[in-house]
Symmetry: C2
Subunit: 235 residues, 2 copies
Amino acid sequence: MRYELYYWPTIQGRGEYVRLALEEAGADYVDAARQESGMAAMMRMMEAKNGTPPFAPPFLKAGKLVIGQTANILLYLGSRHSLSPKGEAASLWVHQLQLTVTDFVVEIHDTHHPLGSSLYYEDQRSEAKKRTNEFWKERVPKFLGYFEALLETSGGAFITGRRLTHVDLSLFQIVEGFRYAFPKRMKAFEHKIPRLVDLHDRVASRPNIKAYLSSERRIAFNEDGIFRHYKELDF
Amino acid sequence: MRYELYYWPTIQGRGEYVRLALEEAGADYVDAARQESGMAAMMRMMEAKNGTPPFAPPFLKAGKLVIGQTANILLYLGSRHSLSPKGEAASLWVHQLQLTVTDFVVEIHDTHHPLGSSLYYEDQRSEAKKRTNEFWKERVPKFLGYFEALLETSGGAFITGRRLTHVDLSLFQIVEGFRYAFPKRMKAFEHKIPRLVDLHDRVASRPNIKAYLSSERRIAFNEDGIFRHYKELDF
């Protein structure tokens, strides 16, 4: 079965967490909205009057299933491609961590759009500065400190122990994204999260991820995505 | 087994989606942080150096399990208390909808805290007005319109058909919360979501929910929670 991933074709965004999982797994998939007529197909599926129409991308077509919500897609893929542990307790824990990443991603996005996503960044620049300052002062230390502490006690190289999960892939993306969006702030902060930086490097050097990152399938960071580099927000 | 729910003791907040599920199910539970020494116990569990320390409340202690993230708790409770369907496809769909509610709840919260949750509302009042206007113009019609459309085609009285799920309970809470926080805006809007209003009434009249809502276990809405009534945001 070839998976079809549907996501905005010009950004990493939330789709990237799914792409990283599919790539690490070596899964057969097509990034559907990047194909001809793909965007039209994506919009049709969201407007479907029956079945399970998703509220928003990303969503994954897996045979007859259409699965929306990033963490839900990873819940599905994780169990099929050894990217999450078996057993209810461990599975709930990994999903819980992925949902915590999800919460963090919302806050990362809102640094540049505190007044709402339908308004231009240029029309909320001063509010974005305030939100970004609060974010780096309060939220980044709290979220990354949480994951750093988990790595310290995990008993292995990965967030839940000796085996890689989709959460590790997502944490790679967070570090990578911060380095792009906030190079100065991140440079000053990284000494507080040595284990996360190591994890980032370990994920980046995995053969499938390494091949993906240097391929055209990996869309470059840009100022339409979640991680945006605006000089005035980084100092 | 008696569940222990851990959540901030003076607000409905995100804990309310779990409380409603526990109450509908008639489950044996204690609202732990509202008991003597409960808050201290909650903080200790979040700071635990091993096990599965949650990033934030709510979390549920179920025997040896400690489960965090609202939607994850409902995933667990749903399968045990007939508040979600069996079968992978239906289960993923219900979880996906709960995660969409989760996204909406973040945006509801951010109407009064667009610059960040560590700052006082009073220090972001003008930004809150802008965000609230954008929210009611763009986001409420999109989110509630989505759920209204699903109710129209569900083939039953509930969001996924003939059987109630935890998503229905959460949608009740959304309607109830909007009526509290934005009575004027909601009064003008409700004619667009007749099926959601019906669903709200149907949930409210279920015996266990009705008993709960009139009990002292239901904390009243207040201005420390997600749904806050500020006159200047409602017109």
